[in-house]
């Protein structure tokens, strides 16, 4: 028995070692998607902005050493594996899990898969402006509450069955089911009668009306400019996904996850867990069958380089560092596309803490941190400094009246003096006998290391006591943040489609303590209209407000490059919908 106890304890020790190893690696995974920037930028962020200010400018924002798309110079260098393919294109994807039903998937990778299997009612163009897809057009009522969608004629699912307004109504309805556990943002949209449906007191949702097979309308309780895109998402076939539906019972749908029925450019051919997802062109796609018969997402967890170099994948993305760009150019057989995702990095500020509730202290931090060194120079150009809650590629982006907070320690010291923090013993600033101390949280990554190294010096120069704390994984970081024990935390947003998304966190309680009626009023004003020009004007005011008040401190934009097999033609990448938009047109030279 003693031996068994010994064994058990060694099992425990081994287990805990394994755990710590896991958390470290797990973090790497999340870090790449959720923490600020490992990417590139121009020397002057304003050049990037200028490129997008004009409405007709292409969505290409210069990235580091690459200011415009680069075309392959020598296709004969293309590896034999890639040379051989005639009707198949292969793209790497981190980890599709097999949950391919839209609205029911938990990972963005599954979203990448379903974005090829399902088309949307409404999509967005390269600037994030809504444009028709399955819906030919839509009307919005005077009061901005009722949206009427007019579907195209003769829409079909990939099995040939018709796609009608009933399918759309079904898709919306099940997301208000009380058993719905997905991450869709539709349930937070207040559709008239949706609460009664969720509570089980109504058989159907009042606000959703099917007018005829090609027309349906939906009425909201309050205006919301993001509703159009949220409502205008993928459509699930009622005949297929709704066959066994009963209120409060959504378990059955899980069995259909690996057997999707969509209406997108491609159909699922085969899913091999951990290895690949195979697609075949859908002859019933409303825009016509895609030009390339087969498409494959290959599961890749490691380095994308080796697969691009051996010709096993045709397309991969890299941080836009000068080194990466030079190396890619040298390959000779890849086209390179610079790209800025629609995200921004920021430091969440604990506004409940006395020292940070003062705007001048927040501004002092923005001035006093050498963000250019941290996010642009240290990243070898694969990043840009951010000053507003929107990415330079958004239609709402502006730098008019925006303070760039260029690194200026003198200005920072002046602001701290003004705020009453005077240098005390040991060089640390004090007010009412309390030292000015900043407890900073971040998850473990190369960028956090750089940040801490530079920030330590910067903060010391300002007379701020800087106390960094690093977390092994993203979940622990968020937990600690939720407990309120912090001053600053580094985060990055997920993909933002609508400019309102950039402010969302101030409404759902995540950033407590920012209570500014002017902000709430402007935010609602921007949502109350669907007119882009009007919204643009309101967002400009909002950006200026945030840029001045800094309820969060903006840090950076990431910059990436896409490298792809030079034989592929007609490829473009949308910052909002990825490659799904242009994929049906890709051809192999």
């Amino acid at each position: 028995m003693r031996k068994s106890t010994l064994l058990l304890s060694s099992l425990m020790i081994a287990g805990s070692l394994l755990l710590s190893a896991c958390s470290e690696n797990g973090n790497k995974d999340t870090a790449s998607t959720d923490t600020p920037a490992n990417t590139a930028a121009t020397a002057d962020p304003n050049t990037a902005a200028a490129g997008t200010a004009a409405p007709s400018a292409p969505a290409v924002v210069p990235a580091g050493a690459l200011s415009e798309p680069f075309t392959a110079t020598d296709l004969t260098k293309l590896p034999a594996a890639a040379q051989k393919r005639t009707d198949t294109i292969i793209v790497g994807l981190t980890d599709p899990s097999g949950a391919f039903t839209p609205y029911f998937q938990e990972s963005g990778y599954d979203g990448n898969v379903s974005s090829l299997l399902y088309a949307s009612l409404v999509t967005v163009d390269d600037k994030g402006v809504p444009v028709p897809e399955l819906a030919e057009s839509w009307d919005v009522s005077e009061d901005q509450l009722t949206y009427t969608f007019h579907l195209r004629k003769d829409l079909k699912f990939s099995d040939g069955s018709p796609l009608t307004a009933d399918d759309v109504a079904f898709t919306w309805t099940i997301q208000y089911d009380k058993a719905y556990d997905g991450g869709s943002s539709l349930p937070s949209l207040k559709v008239k009668g949706s609460e009664a449906y969720k509570a089980g007191t109504a058989q159907a949702i009042d606000g959703i009306t099917v007018i005829d097979p090609q027309t349906l309308s939906v009425t909201l309780e309050q205006p919301n400019a993001t509703a159009l895109v949220t409502l205008g998402s993928n459509v699930l076939s009622k005949a297929y996904y709704g066959k066994d539906y009963e209120f409060g019972q959504l378990e059955y749908i899980k069995k259909l996850h690996e057997k999707p029925l969509g209406d997108g450019p491609y159909k699922l051919e085969k899913f091999i867990p951990g290895q690949e997802v195979r697609f075949v062109a859908n002859e019933n796609y409303f825009k016509g069958k895609p030009k390339t018969e087969h498409f494959i997402y290959k599961t890749t967890t490691g380095d994308a380089w080796q697969f691009l170099e051996t010709g096993e994948v045709d397309y991969a993305s890299f941080p836009a560092t000068e080194e990466n760009i030079a190396k890619l150019k040298e390959l000779g057989y890849v086209n390179i596309l610079p790209y800025t995702p629609s995200t921004y990095g920021y430091m969440q500020v604990n506004l409940k803490h006395e020292q940070l509730s003062d705007k001048r202290v927040r501004q002092a931090i923005a001035y006093g941190l050498d963000r250019q060194s941290i996010y642009v120079d240290a990243a070898e150009g694969a990043g840009a400094v951010a000053n507003i809650p929107a990415s330079p590629i958004s239609w709402s982006y502006t730098d008019e009246g925006i303070n760039p907070y260029k690194y200026d320690p003198e200005q920072a010291k002046k602001l701290l003096d003004e705020a009453g923090w005077t240098v005390g013993a040991g060089g640390i600033r004090e007010k009412d006998g309390k030292p000015l101390s900043i407890h900073y949280l971040a998850s473990k990554s190369k960028n956090s290391d750089i940040f801490i190294a530079v920030a330590k010096e910067n903060f010391a120069a300002l007379g701020i006591d800087f106390q960094p704390e690093i977390f092994a994984d993203f979940n622990s970081l968020v937990s600690k943040t939720e407990s309120g024990d912090y001053d600053l935390v580094s985060f990055s947003t997920s993909m933002l489609t609508d400019p309102a998304d950039g402010f969302m966190q101030f409404f759902d309680g995540e950033i407590a303590g920012y209570d500014n009626p002017a902000f709430t009023e402007l935010y609602n004003k921007a949502l109350a209209t669907t007119d882009i020009e009007q919204r643009k004007a309101v967002y400009k005011e909002l950006y200026q407000l945030f840029n001045d008040e800094l309820p969060i401190i903006f840090t950076n934009y990431k910059k990436t490059v896409y490298a792809y097999n030079g034989r592929i033609e007609n490829l473009s990448v949308s910052p909002f919908i990825g490659l799904a938009g242009s994929l049906p047109n890709w051809t192999l030279k």
């Binding site: 896991c22 995974d29 867990p273 622990s476 309680g509």
Partner: protein, 317 residues
């Protein structure tokens, strides 16, 4: 023997029960849950989802539900992968097993051969070379060896594929598929074998050296037995005995997957899946898999105890 077995099995159950409680609490106490990481959700929606998943209930109650389901053969439903946990095991575990079984077999085979020879020729140039090679292999990190071999053999020389388990898009079946898999597993098997080889060779070498010094070996030689017989029948058998304990430990490793190797070589194994699930706090999968490993460990130790008795009748159970 049979009373021993009943007793052992009983203890095993108690150990597993304690282990499961401990593991569950450890996971439950790790900061953050599956919902935490999703920064897109509103606080209201997060609360709703915690209610649906039962994450807002007390730890012990959650444990009770989990145990109850587990006894009914239901190991839960992976939150991140949206699939039953057992189905996920089926999807990934055999790939890990294949890799681990082949490399374990090779590791043992090579380690025994080299260990015996270098013990027999202790302090010879062969032994010195082996010791140097072993220390080199043991001190190299696996990701370095892995990436280095990928660079040389896959990217530069193009002899072997850089990763994966089969050629992307391949429809090979039967023998062609077998060949493809062998081709793809060569690199990871080389690395795994190299990494395991060092310690095991040292273990066999020192066991063998100890045995060769024993009186009965001298006696056997004095009797005029052939050197080969002395070495393989008398010495090797006794030198291998302690290794049986190691066999028990190998069992969970065979199914546990190697996180790093699978990551580097893009191998569709369970180790990678486990690692990702931890980052996401996918409790049903983590719990299911950890328990599975705990069960294997307990069974493995029991097996090695029984085997030991079979191999050496002097051992009393």
């Amino acid at each position: 023997m049979s009373t021993y077995l009943t007793k052992r099995v009983l203890y095993m159950l108690i150990i597993l029960f304690a282990a499961s409680l401990l593991i569950f609490c450890l996971y439950a106490l790790t900061p953050g849950d599956f919902i935490t990481g999703n920064i897109k959700l509103t606080a209201e929606r997060k609360a709703e989802l915690r209610e649906i998943y039962g994450l807002n209930k007390p730890v012990l109650e959650r444990y009770g539900t989990w145990m109850n389901n587990a006894f009914h053969g239901d190991f839960g439903y992976s939150l991140a992968q949206q699939k039953p946990v057992l189905q996920l095991f089926g999807d990934y575990i055999w790939n890990s097993f294949l890799l681990a079984a082949v490399s374990t077999f090779l590791t043992w085979l090579i380690a025994v051969i080299i260990g015996v020879i270098s013990a027999y020729k202790q302090y010879s140039w062969f032994d010195t070379l082996v010791m140097i090679a072993i220390f080199a292999a043991m001190s190299l990190p696996s990701f370095f060896i892995g990436l280095f071999l990928i660079k040389i053999l896959a990217v530069d020389l193009k002899w072997l594929p850089p990763g994966g388990m089969m050629t992307t898009g391949s429809n090979a079946a039967g023998f062609a598929y077998f060949k493809e898999v062998v081709h793809h597993m060569t690199l990871p098997v080389i690395v795994m074998t190299l990494l395991g080889l060092g310690s095991l060779t040292r273990y066999f070498r020192s066991n063998m050296i100890d045995v060769l010094k024993q009186d009965y070996i001298r006696t056997a030689r004095a009797k005029g037995l052939k050197e080969r017989k002395v070495l393989f029948t008398h010495a090797l058998r006794n030198a291998l005995l302690p290794a049986i304990t190691l066999v028990g430990f190998e069992l969970p490793a065979l199914f546990g997957g190697s996180i790093i190797i699978e990551q580097i070589f893009n191998w569709p194994g369970i180790g990678q899946l486990y690692m990702k699930s931890f980052g996401l706090r996918d409790y049903p999968l983590l719990m299911g898999f950890t328990m599975f490993l705990a069960i294997l460990t307990v069974i493995g130790t029991l097996l090695s105890d029984i085997l030991y008795r079979v191999a050496d009748p002097r051992v009393r159970l």
